[in-house]
Amino acid sequence: MRTSIFLYGLWCLAIVGLFMVANTYAWSPFADGRQGPRGSGGGVIFVGGPNHK
Amino acid sequence: MLTLPCPNCGAPVTFRSPALPNRVCDHCRSMLVRSDAGVGIAGQGAALPFDVSPIQIGTRGRFDGRAFEVIGRVRWSWDDGSWNEWLCLFEGGAHGWLGEAMGDFMMTFERPLAEVRSAELDRIARGAPALPGRKAEIDGEELAIADARQVSCIAAEGELPFTALPGWTIYSVDLKAASGRAASLQREGDEAWFYDGRYVTLAELSANNLRAIEGWTMPRYG
């Protein structure tokens, strides 16, 4: 039982650590934005995303 | 302290206290009685049957802060078994009994029945039968009669306050309280004696100089 509590502690530590890293880099898997190709401001190629019906 | 030769076999026997006039000769098992006139023979004792009790003559310990040494024993039997009563001599000369039955120990001391003033005990002392389950109030505490039976002496050793010869039969009543208090009333004819005390463990008594038993590790207390 001690081991499971220890492992859970590690798990929570990892989660909190992950959150801290995500927080520092303002990272979120729920964002819509994707990194696009580098280029001039115009003429951007769009990938994915919802469109009208 | 008085050391004399056994009137039966001549082996030296020691009487430690005038309050304990009886002594079983270690050599010939004669029951000796000490009186002003000298030492007489009260009867012939029996050999103790084999048992694996951890107590022996010479076992020492402390009870409620007072040191004691085991100096005698009476082995009693009843219909359904037998047990030991070890006589403990305390510093200052008082004595108590370390009862040993079914692997449990209890330390009891004689008290005058008049001081106890229990109607139930008085009734039993006067000859009424003791009924298991009946209650007796002693010092404001309720004790229940656990059992009542005829018991007989099988054998004895060491120093004793009375003559305990094989076949001596008395009526013995055990009482117990929820707190672990244990008491007993013993009756022979018109006479009755009351013993009051409680359950103890060898650890609690810091018992030492226990009997060595082959193949078992002797615990070290204290």
Binding site: V16, F19, N23, G33, F46 | S77, G103
Partner: protein, 446 residues
């Protein structure tokens, strides 16, 4: 050593008056009854001469732990001297009598593969039948009015025992321990047994570790409870750490607000707004678009944030669409006139927001707009092209620090998930354990 006297022998051999087998008396002086380990006959050993009480000529039961086996529990060595099989209306268990001349008797109780270590109490528990207390530990009632019958017996005992002996039993439990009251016509005995992991008994006495008893033993502690208890503390600490982490990353800041117009002809359009200054080392940015005039139409919006310094771009596509109408169920509407896009992990810099967009609306060709004399024609739908309205798209750009609420909730779920699983295991265990009780319909605590 002062007490290095000649050691007293520990056992005595006697011969069974029925089968002649050599029976070892391991608790001489205490034992009253011996059930011969060869022929199962009951012998009386309370007197110097052994007496046959009940003659049996059967092969005595083979014991999981043979007589004479020694094992050490909590630092004290015990020897198995007796064994009884008992049963309470189809609920069987076995009891091994343990002996150590210096420590007296104990019991090893086996039931459904689970083990307990028991001792006779020299005190009577305090309290009422509803709950008892011994050594400051309280016990709750579990079994009532049972009848325990001895079905088989081998070895030596300190009382007269025989097959068929019955006692009335009542049991109280607390996690890890059981309090039992056994009463026959003459006396009442109280004993306390503590649950011992099967592995401990297996290691001490060499029995094969049994399976896990199911349903659990009445006093078996829930294996998940320590995890749940410890886990709650850890989870609270982790939650607080998340809160602290979330709070130090700061709130939102408005970066740009403005409007762009949608052309009437529905062509592709592009607008560039900015500059948008991102000052935090990293941030999330939300671009919100609101088309108040949107009705029965759609607007596609493709956002691209371009870092002026290195032309790194971040893109997201969104659509705002909203349709309304009227059918047999009444008025309906679906969709949303707003379209927001979230960007995450944007490094600091000066950005332009390039919006590629295109809008259109749909007009029911069978219905004229602005039909004043027909209220049932539905809400007024402006035809962008015909009515020459120029719908505006209101754009606002805000920045936020940190990973955001979504990640916070996700992490919270990940933290709680193992704890919840542990709690479910605990609840299932306790339900099965309590289900065995004569008081099963009772309380829900524990």
């Amino acid at each position: 050593m002062a007490d290095a006297a000649v050691a007293q022998p520990a056992a005595k051999a006697l011969s069974c008056p029925n089968c002649g087998g050599t029976v070892t008396l391991r608790a001489a002086g205490y034992s009253v009854t011996v059930a011969c380990e060869y022929c199962a006959s009951i012998l009386d050993v309370s007197q110097p001469e052994v007496r046959l009480v009940t003659r049996y000529n059967e092969k005595a039961s083979r014991l999981a732990i043979p007589l004479g086996t020694r094992g050490t529990l909590d630092g004290t060595e015990w020897e198995v001297v007796g064994w009884m099989a008992r049963d309470d209306s189809g609920y069987p268990w076995e009891e091994f009598l343990l002996f150590n001349p210096y420590h007296g008797y104990r019991w090893l109780i086996e039931q459904r593969g689970g083990w307990s270590f028991g001792e006779q109490l020299t005190r009577t528990p305090e309290g009422s039948w509803g709950g008892l207390k011994v050594d400051g530990e309280s016990y709750k009632p579990f079994f009532a009015d049972g009848t325990a019958r001895v079905t088989d017996v081998v070895g030596e005992f300190y009382w007269r025992v025989k097959r068929g002996d019955t006692v009335r039993t009542d049991d109280w439990v607390r996690p890890g321990a059981m309090l039992s009251r056994e009463a026959d016509g003459k006396e009442v005995n109280w004993s306390r047994s503590r649950w011992v992991p099967a592995a401990t008994i297996a290691a001490a006495f060499g029995v094969a570790a049994g399976g896990k008893p199911w349903p659990p033993l009445p006093h078996q502690p829930s294996p998940a409870l320590p995890f749940v208890k410890g886990g709650i503390v850890i989870a609270i600490l982790a939650f607080l750490a998340l809160l602290v982490g979330a709070s130090i990353t700061g709130g939102g800041r408005s970066l740009w607000n403005g409007s762009i117009a949608i052309a009437a002809d529905g062509r592709d359009q592009q607008a560039t707004v900015g500059p948008i200054e991102l000052t935090r080392p990293y941030q999330r940015v939300r671009v919100s678009a609101d088309v108040p005039a949107l009705s029965n139409g759609w607007v596609d919006l493709d956002y691209t944030l371009v870092d002026r310094k290195n032309q790194a771009s971040y893109t997201a596509s969104k659509a705002a669409e909203r349709y309304t109408g009227r059918d047999s169920d009444g008025d309906w509407s679906e969709g949303d006139q707003t379209a927001g896009a979230d960007f995450a992990a944007l490094p600091a810099g000066t950005y332009d927001l390039v919006i590629d967009y295109k809008g259109n609306n749909w007009v029911d060709p069978n219905k004229s707009s602005g039909n004043f004399w027909d209220p049932g024609a539905g809400e007024q739908t402006p035809d962008w092209r015909r009515d020459a309205v120029q719908p505006q798209v209101n754009i606002s750009v805000r920045s936020r620090g940190g990973a955001g609420g979504g990640v916070f909730v996700l992490m919270l779920i990940l933290i709680v998930l193992p704890l919840g699983a542990g709690f479910l295991i605990h609840a299932r265990f306790e339900g099965a354990r309590r289900g065995e009780s004569d008081f099963a319909s009772g309380g829900d605590d524990g």
